[in-house]
């Protein structure tokens, strides 16, 4: 590995200051949560920080604090703790399911919520150091190359799919993200945190170099709300979602009152299927309706040469996720 200095952050402000200082000295800095993604990139010299700002030394950012309108989840909570948290499991089961579906126990024991949401793409061109848009180059190799795992929505000029399992769940929950930077704090709806390559092909989210994702706020569940995270993997564990569906439904008397359907593995951002949600709202839940939601969710998908299979796959997954929720009494 290239040499770097580890700097333990005492609090959020200190973390931001450490990064800022480095930048002012003409050095580069990276924030490290669990480091499970960052270190791999540093070892490959795809990121070459002079300073690694260690966020894990910040106290109290690994808690779930429940309040009036919901809960605040610290960005430094490990995925393992998130998946096991009793309140999370009870109120937002899809979030716990998404966290539990990530990688392996060893990774979940150190990987953080914020780090998971901010992890870099897992496109094999990017990870193998091809000089593509995400690596500071000017082309995307996947468009005409091996694109079995790439985007069918929202692609161009990069065709990554957003890798995080937790992100679609947070978007489906209408979570908000609290960001701390040199100018102070800003709060954004989860959906606005992620950006498409056409906005900035080098990045996956709105964070500036010296901004930290501090916590996420999850609103309290509405009456009759139920949720699920369905993930398709290419082996039984230790891979990202080929596709996934984060579904939140409010159902009363077998009638759907509210719906969020957010797809993973299909687009460079967690992909909200608005039209499919509209198909459900106000309707009695039936297998036919669930199938229709799946159909509508995939309308307008634009597959590349090798990923058309994702269309029937995701349709079926949405159908099953919706059906699974309507089956929950």
């Amino acid at each position: 590995m290239k040499t770097f200095a580890n700097a333990n952050a005492l609090d959020l402000r200190h973390a931001v200051t450490l990064a800022q200082q480095a930048h002012q000295d003409g050095r580069t800095a990276s924030f490290a949560g669990g480091g499970s993604d960052l270190l791999a990139l540093v070892k490959e010299r795809m990121v070459t920080p002079d300073v690694l700002v260690n966020l894990k030394t910040i106290k109290g950012l690994n808690q779930v604090t429940s309040g009036k309108g919901g809960a605040t989840i610290g960005g430094l909570i490990t995925l393992d703790a998130l998946g096991r948290h009793a309140l999370v499991r009870r109120q937002w089961p899809l979030l716990a399911q998404a966290a539990e579906s990530v990688a392996t126990p060893q990774i979940r024991n150190v990987a953080t919520l914020a780090g998971n949401v901010c992890q870099r793409p897992w496109c094999w061109y990017f990870r193998n150091g091809f000089p593509c848009l995400k690596n500071g180059g000017r082309t995307c190799f996947s468009v005409t190359g091996e694109n079995r795992f790439h985007a069918i929505f929202g692609g161009g000029p990069s065709y990554i799919v957003h890798p995080s399992d937790v992100a679609p769940a947070l978007v489906a929950l209408d979570a908000t993200f609290r960001i701390v930077g040199p100018a102070g704090e800003r709060v954004l709806p989860a959906a606005e945190f992620f950006i498409l390559p056409r906005q900035d092909a080098a990045r996956e989210n709105v964070l500036a170099h010296d901004e930290v994702l501090a916590s996420v706020e999850v609103p309290a569940p509405r009456l009759g709300m139920r949720s699920t995270y369905h993930k398709v993997l290419d082996r039984e564990a230790w891979t990202h979602a080929v596709v996934s569906a984060a579904v939140v439904l409010a159902i009363d008397n077998n009638v759907c009152h509210d719906a969020r359907i957010v797809l993973g593995g299909v687009a460079p951002v967690p992909w909200r299927a608005h039209d499919a949600e509209r198909v459900l709202v106000g309707q009695r839940m039936t297998p036919e309706l669930a199938a229709k939601a799946g159909e509508v969710a995939l309308a307008g998908a634009r597959p590349l040469e090798k990923n058309a299979y994702k269309i029937p796959l995701t349709k079926s997954l949405v159908k099953r996720a919706v059906l699974a929720l309507s089956a929950l009494g």
Binding site: E146, V232, A237, L313
Partner: protein, 726 residues
């Protein structure tokens, strides 16, 4: 595991004292306490660390290499490139791919050096650095600048044979045979035209299999040290004797000046019964630097710089009569060898059928991918899968149960010879019964209602178990303690323990009374090396002969006294004239396919094997289970994909390779039918490759039974399943 001794058609075998009883490995404690020393664990005083700079291009001529910045880094002690190191890696490229043949290595035209110019695949070593620590070595290769003239490249064997394809060698892209002629590997029996003439129907098929990496858990490493003109090399090799001789030859040294040590190694799976370029590079760096050097390849380097199973494209034409008798098999195939011929490129499978008329032509083709090499059943799983899929398909088309079709057409006698014994029908019948084939198999494929469909598949094997030369030495001292010297390393299959058990049984003592010395060419006699599933057969036989000799010596001379020892050695070279020695087996699989999601789950996996006498049922069963698990990865996941435009590899580690995890591998039920054909040690036959070679065929056939679609390309991934059903 269940075990049976003897069976309906095979004579019962006589029970023995240590042999045939489950015996934990004699080195298991070292393996569970972290005390086992693997190559990477070796630390020598003053040792330097090495790093290799590898070509980023699939084909390029090196114009210049600028080492000035790297040389200037404090702590850098030696740098090698093609300019100052012209060592030829003999085992890296051999006409015909025939290993262990110095003569062939000498006349090979398409030579592979430790550092090549031009470079011919992404991962080809360009330079190597030794420095005082691993980080400085890594920094140093970052600042080496290489000026490449990029050349056209070709990745797929069929493309490489098209007119106008880039020529990787001036003789063209078909690799020469062991007579240095540009000829495909050809096999003929009977009269193929006549065979098709007799047929009522002729079926054709095209199948492909992927480039799969051995991916053993320990990435390649080496530690080399010179003391004067004597070289010691620590390296993960399954064949210390062959590796030793290869290193001496390649470095132009007498054998006595080289010592190879491998106490433990983290998996073999082929291609480690010779030396590696890493060994030569480390040795030369150590010489140049005047200090011991350790080279540890990264996982990525191991994937792109070492070897995987050759990818293939295979075309079949099969003729059958109305009653389902196969009368003709014609095959044309292409094996992608990478730019050097390291191994044969062969494709097995046709020999599994009794068919009188066959014709096969296999082209070993040069490409600009990583070099292919032997991998657990070198020619087998990638050949078994297509032909057993073809035959399975034909059975359905003729309205026959695939088992009925196999029993009708499988090999019963090898050409112009007999088998030393034959149990294939017993393996199949027994397996079908244990598996409850009639219940699990669907006469109408894809007939399960609903999106989740089950199906059953079968595949079988007949695999070499030949006898041959190996050596062993046994010593006894005045305290009546025995020491067995064998040149095995124990790649994971349990060879040391097997040898110990054989010696103990023959000497009439307990396993713990025999100490085993292994894995060091200065201390151990020749051993054939752990490849080709033959260590138990060949070295095991030598152990028996040495033990018998020792007993004779004791009887004649009495026990040694004082400091004296009695030493017995044996290097038997048995033969089976006029006979072919095979092991046999059959696998039965039940899968569940989710036709909406494209998921394939293996629900039940049952194998019946006849591998002669089982020396240690504990480790033998583990071998079969492990082979099946690996075969499952080959069937469903593993594929070293390349980018077509750049010729660069995309699958460079376990994550993208989707190697099976704990959750992917089901319980594998193993049954042995034990026999003793009078050869090998008490009738023991090969096991190491048996588990893997028919797995992809069996799984693919089960998928067909579940969904009614024939999957013709490995691996059978979700996109292919959903594509076939679309």
């Amino acid at each position: 595991m269940s075990q049976q001794r003897g069976g309906s058609s095979s004579a019962p075998i006589a029970p023995m004292k240590a042999i045939g009883h489950a015996t934990p490995r004699i080195d298991a404690v070292e393996r569970v306490t972290g005390q086992a020393i693997y190559t990477r664990d070796v630390q020598l005083p003053g040792m330097l660390y090495a790093q290799v700079l590898r070509s980023p291009h699939p084909h390029a001529r090196i114009r210049t290499i600028d080492l000035s910045k790297a040389r200037a880094l404090p702590g850098v002690k030696a740098i090698l490139t093609h300019e100052n190191c012209q060592v030829v890696w003999g085992a890296g490229s051999i006409s015909g791919g025939s290993q262990y043949n110095d003569q062939m290595k000498k006349i090979t035209k398409h030579r592979r050096y430790a550092f090549n110019n031009p470079v011919r695949f992404v991962g080809d070593p360009v330079a190597a650095v030794a420095a005082v620590n691993r980080h400085i070595a890594e920094d140093a290769i970052q600042v080496i600048t290489v000026d490449y003239e990029v050349l056209p490249f070709v990745l797929e064997p069929e493309d490489a044979l098209k007119p106008g394809a880039p020529q990787i060698w001036s003789e063209g892209n078909v690799s020469p045979n062991n007579k240095n002629e540009i000829e495909p590997m050809t096999q003929r029996r009977g009269n193929i035209d006549e065979g098709f003439h007799q047929a009522a129907q002729v079926f054709e098929g095209r199948y492909t299999t992927a480039f799969c990496h051995n991916a053993q858990m320990e990435p390649r490493a080496c530690v080399a040290r010179w003391e004067g003109d004597t070289l010691t090399v620590y390296t993960p090799t399954g064949g210390i004797s062959n590796c030793h001789h290869d290193i001496a030859r390649d470095l132009g040294m007498p054998d006595e000046k080289v010592r190879v040590i491998c106490q433990y190694m983290g998996g073999n799976f082929g291609n480690k019964n010779q030396n590696q370029d890493a060994d030569l590079i480390t040795a030369m760096l150590a010489k140049e630097a005047g200090a011991p050097v350790k080279l540890e390849l990264s996982r990525k380097e191991d994937f792109i710089g070492m070897h995987g199973r050759w990818p293939t494209v295979q075309y079949y034409k099969v003729g059958v009569t109305r009653d389902g008798t196969v009368t003709a098999i014609q095959m044309r195939a292409y094996s992608g060898m990478g730019p050097y011929r390291k191994n044969s490129g062969g494709i097995a499978g046709i020999e599994l059928y009794q068919c009188p008329n066959i014709e096969s032509r296999i082209y070993p083709v040069y490409t600009n991918k990583t070099v292919s090499g032997n991998y657990r059943g070198p020619a087998d799983p990638q050949g078994y899968y297509p032909i057993q899929s073809m035959m399975d398909d034909i059975a359905y088309k003729l309205g026959m149960d695939p088992i009925e079709f196999i029993l009708k057409n499988m090999v019963r006698q090898p050409p112009n010879a007999t088998f030393t014994n034959y149990t294939l029908d017993e393996c199949i019948r027994r397996g079908a019964e244990l598996f409850d084939w009639k219940k699990r198999w669907k006469p109408r494929p894809g007939s399960d209602p609903g999106p989740i469909k089950r199906g059953a598949g079968v595949a079988f094997m007949a695999f070499r178990s030949g006898v041959g030369m190996s050596s062993a030495v046994i010593q006894v001292d005045a305290t009546r303690r025995y020491t067995l010297f064998v040149g095995v390393t124990d790649v994971g299959a349990g060879a040391k323990t097997t040898m110990d058990i054989i010696a103990a049984d023959e000497l009439g003592v307990a396993v713990s009374d025999v100490k085993v010395v292994w894995g060091d060419t200065d201390r151990c006699p020749y051993s054939v090396g752990e490849s080709g599933s033959r260590t138990t057969i060949m070295t095991g036989r030598a152990v028996i002969e040495a033990a018998r000799d020792l007993k004779r010596q004791i009887a004649a001379e009495g026990w040694p006294t004082g400091d004296a020892v009695l030493t017995a050695s044996a290097s038997p070279n048995p033969k089976t004239p006029g006979q072919v020695r095979n092991c046999f087996g059959a696998n039965f699989v039940e899968v569940e396919v989710d036709v909406e999601l494209g998921d394939v789950r293996v629900l039940k996996y049952l194998t019946v094997h006849e591998s002669g006498r089982i020396i240690n049922p504990l480790t033998a069963t583990s071998q079969i289970k492990g082979g099946v698990g690996m075969g499952l990865g080959m069937a469903l996941h593993e594929d070293m994909l390349y980018d077509r435009r750049t010729g660069r590899p995309l699958v460079t580690g376990y994550y993208f390779d989707r190697v099976p995890t704990h959750r992917d591998v089901p319980d594998i039920e193993v049954t042995f039918i034990e026999t003793d054909d009078g050869y090998g040690p008490y009738g023991a036959k090969s096991i190491g490759e048996s588990g893997m070679i028919q797995t992809p065929a069996a799984i693919s056939n089960a998928i067909f039974n579940a969904i009614g679609r024939r999957m013709t390309d490995l691996p059978i991934t979700r996109d292919k399943i959903l594509g076939a059903l679309a």
